[in-house]
Amino acid sequence: MLFYKVWLDTRWRFLIGLVLLFGSAASIVLAYPKVMQLMPLVPSVNAGGELGRRIREAAELSRSYRGYVWSQWFRQQPTQLGTLFAALLGTGGLLSQSAGGALFTLSLPVSRHRLLGVRAAAGLAELFVLAFVPSLVIPMLSPAIGQSYGVGSAVAHAVCWFVAGSVFFSLAVLLSTVFSDVWRPLLLTCGVALALAMPDFVFRDVGLFSLSRVISGESYFRTGSLPWLGLLASAAISGAVLYAAALNFARKDF
């Protein structure tokens, strides 16, 4: 029953995220033929600096369909929309002023740990769907444009997205046990995500220590092996942060 309550609280955020990500994945696949038509123009782009480098790199990657999908979808959406919706799913909860029925929930014969556990489990399940369903749209839609994309690759990238993205979800859950509004946890989580992504722009070779590279599954794309260390570290951090959230929630006064 508590799962149902969490679903009612988060369903619109989840469904909006699903529609946006689904639409984004589909449009990226369907836009590929058009992108291919424009490829001959790329060498004439005369942008310097980081932007120019990125355009040239994207163009280089887009010479193959696999490279195009990675550079346009798995490299960008998990770190941008994916992180935003991970944070959105983690915000809210009993402390939030917008949470109707907080005292009613607290009057039920349920421990605080279970309340937070159900909320975390439901949120992670939604995050799982947000990571996997739009990613699987790519192999399913690719034949429509005469291309193919491996389901195994899509699943591997979705695993990276889900596991590393859960760090931001957990952080939002923790911050929601500290602040009594939705906005501060959301903004702080997005701020942390941005701060973690910055080294990638400043130092191009932060490799192992970059959470955004784990989310995008860069090592899987380039070498075919999953970033196990990054995934394990992400799962451990996520678990530790959720544990801290449970401890903090248990000692809150309402």
Binding site: G101, A102, F104, L106, S107, P109, V110, D253, F254
Partner: protein, 299 residues
């Protein structure tokens, strides 16, 4: 019920920053009683209830319900399993329908009373398919009461159950409550600042002021013990210092000296007659007067 007291607090304190919401509250709520917890707004009633239900942790002192410590998480879950609660704001899930919320709540209580649920849905005329957010204040209160009454609870804790209701709706809710309690073996602990409703249904009363109980006794006992003694003198009333126990308040007004006693009148009357009044009048006082006298005295 094995415990003599269903709720027991000893020197309970709860501090929020610099504000002490509950300061040394000691309460003993007997099993089977309808216990009115009376106090002004901000007296500490809601905070006390939150501590009893594990929603807030006491700063010091003890709070036990069914003999279980309210501040121990596992015990608190057991307390809530055996307790029905209605919050002051009738805080429910707006996004659910009446039927959904009933089913949701029933899922947590193995002793859920389906027979009572059917009875109260009909009696309160609750529309099962209407969303909670679309219910009127009165309907919301009735739904909150239904959800508390059908839990098969041994204790009902109601925080200002009739706040915001018109007199007709208040009467309907109180009647439903009294009818329920008379047919079920349970204890009711309800907070209010409406003296009339406490007077109407309670058999025990505690008056709380600035976080501590200034009066706590069976209502009949209070009615027996509290008296107003009015002395009229020929000239100006004297300013006596009564040595008898139970003198709550002494007020001079021209030729009249008014005394409120909380421990009978015999010894005070002996002292009073020695002052030489031309007339002595002893009268019982209402719960409202007791409330005003004790809270005013403390203030």
């Amino acid at each position: 019920m094995a415990d003599a007291f269903v709720i027991e607090t000893v020197d309970l304190r709860k501090r929020y920053g610099a504000t002490e919401a509950v300061s040394g509250l000691s309460l003993h709520v007997p099993a089977g009683s309808i216990y009115g917890f009376l106090g002004k707004n901000g007296a500490g009633k809601t905070t006390t209830i939150k501590v009893l239900l594990g929603m807030a942790r006491p700063t010091s002192g003890t709070a036990r319900v069914f003999g279980l410590p309210a501040d121990v998480p596992g015990a608190s879950v057991e307390i809530r399993r055996r307790t029905g609660f209605v919050s002051e704001d009738k805080d429910l899930y707006d996004s659910m329908t009446v039927e959904e919320l009933i089913r949701f709540t029933a899922g947590f209580y193995p002793r859920w009373r389906g027979d009572l649920e059917q009875r109260y849905v009909r009696k309160f005329d609750l529309p099962p398919t209407r969303r909670v957010k679309a219910l009127s204040r009165g309907m919301r209160t009735k739904l909150a009461l239904l959800l508390a009454l059908c839990r098969g609870a041994e204790l009902l804790i109601l925080d200002e159950p009739t706040s915001g209701l018109d007199p007709a709706m208040t009467e309907e809710v109180l009647q439903a409550l009294v009818a329920h309690v008379s047919s079920e073996e349970m204890t009711v602990f309800f907070s209010s600042h409406q003296i009339a409703e406490v007077d109407q249904i309670a058999d025990h009363v505690a008056i709380i002021d600035r976080g501590r109980a200034v009066v706590a006794a069976p209502l009949e006992d209070l009615r027996e013990r509290y008296r107003r003694i009015q002395l009229v003198f020929d000239g100006s009333a004297p300013e006596p210092a009564f040595r008898s126990p139970g003198v709550e308040r002494v007020q001079r007004n021209g030729r009249v000296l008014s005394i409120v006693s909380s421990a009978g009148t015999d010894r005070i009357l002996d002292e009073a007659r020695a002052l030489g009044p031309v007339s002595v009048d002893v009268a019982p006082i209402t719960l409202k007067e007791i409330f005003l006298e004790t809270v005013a005295t403390e203030g």
